[in-house]
């Protein structure tokens, strides 16, 4: 994809991130909020990979440092995926437990922890 500048990928990532942020604030259903968080994580993943592929000040693509940083971007994405998976497992468990307890998952009614 030689014709696509880095800004396009980062812009898409930024847009998705913003959408996720808005979703977290706007939506009431915890599951959708969760999805929005996933959206944010993925936008970050996209940016990571884009930056790994488009190294701005790289001297040449064969230098070892460049290759290491290319791998670093991918590794970060892998770890984000793993963490997201763990997070989803636990988060959905929590939502299930709450639903079982209250038969309702409106996030605005989960306000017991208040001052």
């Amino acid at each position: 994809m030689n014709g696509v500048p880095l800004g396009a990928y980062v812009g898409l990532g930024l847009f998705m991130f913003t959408t996720g942020v808005i979703g977290v604030i706007v939506r009431k259903s915890p599951i959708v909020i969760f999805m929005c968080i996933e959206l944010m994580l993925n936008s970050v993943n996209l940016t990571f990979l884009a930056f790994a592929r488009y190294q701005m000040h790289a001297p040449s693509s064969s230098s070892e440092q460049v290759q290491r940083s290319m791998m670093a971007g991918q590794m970060m994405v892998i770890f984000v995926m793993a963490v997201a998976a763990a997070e989803v497992a636990v988060g959905l468990g929590i939502i299930m437990a709450i639903f079982r307890l209250r038969d309702n998952v409106d996030i605005d009614e989960m306000n017991l922890l208040r001052g």
Partner: protein
């Protein structure tokens, strides 16, 4: 082919990206905008799938396929499963009434987009990817990823595996009625 958009010449590749990226962005909006949780989830699935395609365009094929396996194959199915188990889809749809928070949230979100975008994007618009040399083309393959993951990143990898194990145990504890 002398047309430009924001100083970038329009090429077939850019148009392809525009189609995929635009669809992904639309799906992202759909996640937030759909009132129905199942449709949100569906939008998210499509979004993730398109992201995987974008990963392929970035030569990260291993991660693209992992994205599909992990996100669309596992995480989103879990989401759907829970949405359906709790039957949050149709009849129990939450009543979302108009709320000042909504307005403020959208406004602030847009502000975030504008501020960050104005700061970052102009500089990046001219950045071209590195030349795809043969050894560079291998960097997204399973061999390169695996080798790096098990040598240089072995400790983080182990840490993440422990995290996943803890996640499994935690979710079982949370979800079981009686242990």
């Amino acid at each position: 082919m002398n047309q430009t958009i924001g100083g970038v010449p329009i090429t077939p590749e850019l148009m392809l990206f525009g189609v995929i990226g635009g669809a992904a962005a639309l799906c992202a909006v759909g996640v937030v905008a759909f009132n129905n949780a199942v449709r949100s989830a569906l939008c998210l699935v499509v979004n993730f799938f398109l992201l995987a395609v974008l990963y392929f365009t970035l030569n990260a094929e291993m991660l693209g396929i992992t994205q599909v396996v992990v996100y669309t194959g596992a995480i989103m199915v879990l989401f759907l499963f829970v949405v359906m188990l709790l039957n949050l889809g149709g009849s129990k749809m939450l009543h979302e009434k108009p709320d000042p928070k909504k307005f403020v949230g959208i406004l602030l979100g847009c502000a975030l987009f504008v501020i960050l975008g104005a700061q970052i994007l102009p500089q990046l618009m001219q950045v071209k990817p590195m030349e795809l040399t043969p050894e560079l083309a291998k960097y997204g393959g399973p061999q390169a990823v695996g080798r790096t993951l098990f040598t240089e990143y072995a400790y983080p990898f182990e840490a993440v595996s422990v995290l996943l194990l803890i996640g499994i145990v935690g979710s079982i504890l949370l979800a079981k009625r009686r242990i």
